[in-house]
């Protein structure tokens, strides 16, 4: 049986956060039935915290972030506004949101008490830009995409594949005319009907040279059934573009972190994720198979 390794790294080459080995099935396909997932990240705006909520909408996520911020916020002088970004992972949908919360500690002379007062809670994207002015539908679309991008899978039905060599041996310089049929064939060899996979589902594909990439399912009537979503890593776990060039982490500041766990659905049980702290704005996430092997993703959060 062929073995493939996937490594989720911290910022820069060689900082391995998670290393996992996946056994290949048939033409190199692993279907996750029961699984767990892990997620680590580093800071945003000087502080970050992660949590799990039963969230689906922007109102749910912002309410959860406000609640979290009451007990987990940056240290600050009284009456001095501070901002923190909270990564909130839903436990009931495959959605994750970045919520930027601004607030301050207000000291009451009369009551000799200190209160955390939130002035704003705003959803942001991975660059830290506000998405508050967008429609609810657009925001929820982003939460779904963020969740799948972070975990490298749809937590509702995680699937990972190994690309057959006769389609593409590397993600680098591959094209959709190779990868899209290759994914379809790999699914069929694994006994999965490609047409059964819902539109917009992300799967992580591992190539024989160790590169990995995420692909998104298109409509059943589309010519190309699978398209790259922009996330790929080289064998060392560094983000790359389709030419194989390493993309540097644009976020170089930030402290704090957090950890937590969230469910992964499917036919199995037991799942978790965690969110680690550090000095830059980096995350790595993974999904664990029942046999203990994992796959996942890594990237940068908002700073």
């Amino acid at each position: 049986m062929q073995e493939h390794s996937q490594i989720c790294l911290g910022r820069g080459a060689g900082r391995s956060a998670i290393k996992a080995t996946m056994g290949a099935l048939g033409a190199g396909v692993s279907l996750l039935l029961s699984l767990s997932c892990g997620y680590s990240a580093r800071a945003a705006n000087g502080f970050t915290h992660v949590s799990v909520c039963n969230c689906a909408t922007t109102a749910d996520f912002t309410a959860a972030a406000k609640t979290i911020s009451a007990s987990n916020h940056p240290s600050a002088n009284f009456n001095t506004p501070v901002t923190a970004t909270y990564t909130v992972v839903s436990a009931t949908t495959t959605r994750t949101a970045y919520i930027q919360v601004s607030g301050e500690l207000v000291y009451s002379l009369q009551g000799h008490s200190v209160t955390w007062v939130v002035s704003a809670a705003v959803p942001v994207d991975s660059t830290g830009a506000s998405i508050a002015s967008e429609t609810e539908s657009s925001q929820e679309s982003f939460y779904g995409a963020l969740d799948q991008t972070l975990f490298g899978a749809n937590r509702g039905a995680p699937t990972t594949l190994n690309m057959p060599d006769d389609y593409a041996a590397s993600f680098i310089n591959s094209d959709d005319g190779e990868t899209s049929p290759g994914i379809g064939q790999a699914l069929i060899l694994a006994g999965i009907n490609p047409a059964s996979i819902p539109i917009n589902t992300v799967i992580t594909v591992t190539f024989s040279d160790g590169t990995t990439a995420q692909f998104v399912k298109q409509s059943a009537t589309a010519t190309y059934q699978w398209l790259w979503n922009g996330v790929a890593h080289n064998k060392a776990g560094q983000r790359i573009n389709r030419s194989g060039n390493v993309i540097s982490n644009p976020n170089t500041a930030g402290v704090g972190g957090g950890s937590g766990s969230a469910p992964v659905w499917g036919n199995g049980s037991g799942s978790y994720w965690y969110f680690g702290g550090g000095s830059d704005c980096f995350f790595s996430g993974s999904v664990t198979l029942p046999d203990g092997s994992t796959f996942g993703s890594s990237g940068w959060g908002p700073c």
């Binding site: 495959t94 779904g144 290759g182 379809g184 064939q185 409509s219 190309y224 990237g299």
Partner: protein
């Protein structure tokens, strides 16, 4: 005056394009397409009268264009024949012209290019076989689309522009396609923002400023099978979530579409394209076979939901279809 000229042009173009195809009608009443090529042609049966009877007002109808497109073995010719009606403002002509242009652009890319470089028919057939793509589709694509490679296609306009015009005119299939494209585009943009990097697959394919939900609510009233099928995917995009309810709803809409005339057999091109090599897809025959296979143990729920959808469609209860209000 211009409108009358447009209608005349449209009618003439459909007669022209249909007359270049041959249709035979079996004893069961089903029709079979056969391309008219350099070989001797089978007898022309029942084509022109059917077109005329389907267009009591004298102009071609949606079903005329749908049938002509489905029968066409040469999309270059179809596009050229349809162009005058599209220019004259016939929304159905605009939609099917956009379909022909988009089909050939994408399928020529998939079957007749290798890493961006054009390849000939022999190499393309070998390359398709190597990738386990349906050889018959590769051959069909060559027949339908190779003239797009040999000619200057600029005179035909751009697929997105024709689609936008058809959508603006309220053409239901165009509305459904545009809505799905808008939702998919929104989703792809979300992935770019989630990943934090540009992605060449994120190039907009449609620039319509419409609300996709409104487009779907309008389109569904046509009850066109293709529209109903699109709604299955669109609803998944409109409510990205995790649970299997998404699949139940999607397959229910697919089942309704299949029951109402969409070809969901193993011979349908979309079935070949999405799962031709999966044994159960290759065995699909009746309208419900494929969906039943896909639904697995969710089949009873899918059937029940499909019955609800069918009832709402039949009774015109558009607000009960999950498309908002």
């Amino acid at each position: 005056m211009m409108w009358s000229i447009g209608l005349l042009l449209a009618a003439a173009s459909v007669v022209l394009l249909v007359s270049r195809e041959t249709v035979t009608v079996s004893s069961e009443g089903t029709s079979n397409r056969r391309a008219q090529g350099s070989v001797s042609s089978p007898p022309l049966i029942n084509t022109l009268p059917r077109i005329k009877s389907a267009a009591p007002s004298g102009g071609p109808t949606l079903s005329d264009y749908k049938n002509a497109f489905a029968r066409s073995a040469n999309y270059w010719r179809f596009a050229r024949d349809t162009l005058p009606a599209a220019i004259a403002g016939n929304a159905d002509a605009q939609f099917y012209l956009s379909r022909a242009l988009e089909y050939c652009t994408e399928h020529n890319s998939l079957y007749f290019q290798r890493r961006g470089k054009p390849i000939g028919l022999d190499e393309a057939l070998q390359y398709a076989a190597q990738r386990h793509l349906p050889i018959d589709i590769a051959q069909d694509v060559y027949n339908r689309c190779h003239e797009f490679v040999d000619h200057d296609v600029s005179e035909l306009g751009r697929a997105p522009d024709w689609l936008a015009q058809a959508t603006a005119s309220g053409q239901p299939l165009a509305q459904a396609i545009t809505a799905t494209k808008l939702l998919m585009q929104e989703s792809q943009q979300a992935f770019v923002r989630a990943g934090g990097l540009p992605n060449p697959n994120n190039a907009p394919t449609v620039s319509d400023g419409s609300d996709p939900r409104e487009l779907l609510r309008a389109a569904v009233q046509s009850k066109e099978p293709e529209v109903l099928f699109s709604i299955g995917d669109a609803l998944t995009l409109m409510a990205p979530s995790t649970n299997s309810d998404n699949n139940t709803t999607r397959f229910a809409w697919w089942l309704v579409a299949c029951q109402r005339g969409l070809d969901c057999s193993a011979n349908a091109e979309w079935v070949k394209n999405s799962c031709a090599n999966f044994p159960q897809c290759a065995a699909a025959d009746g309208p419900s076979d494929l969906v039943q296979t896909l639904a697995g143990d969710k089949w009873p729920e899918v059937e029940e939901r499909a019955q609800e959808i069918n009832a709402s469609l039949d009774q015109g209860k558009w607000g009960e279809l999950g498309l908002g209000s």
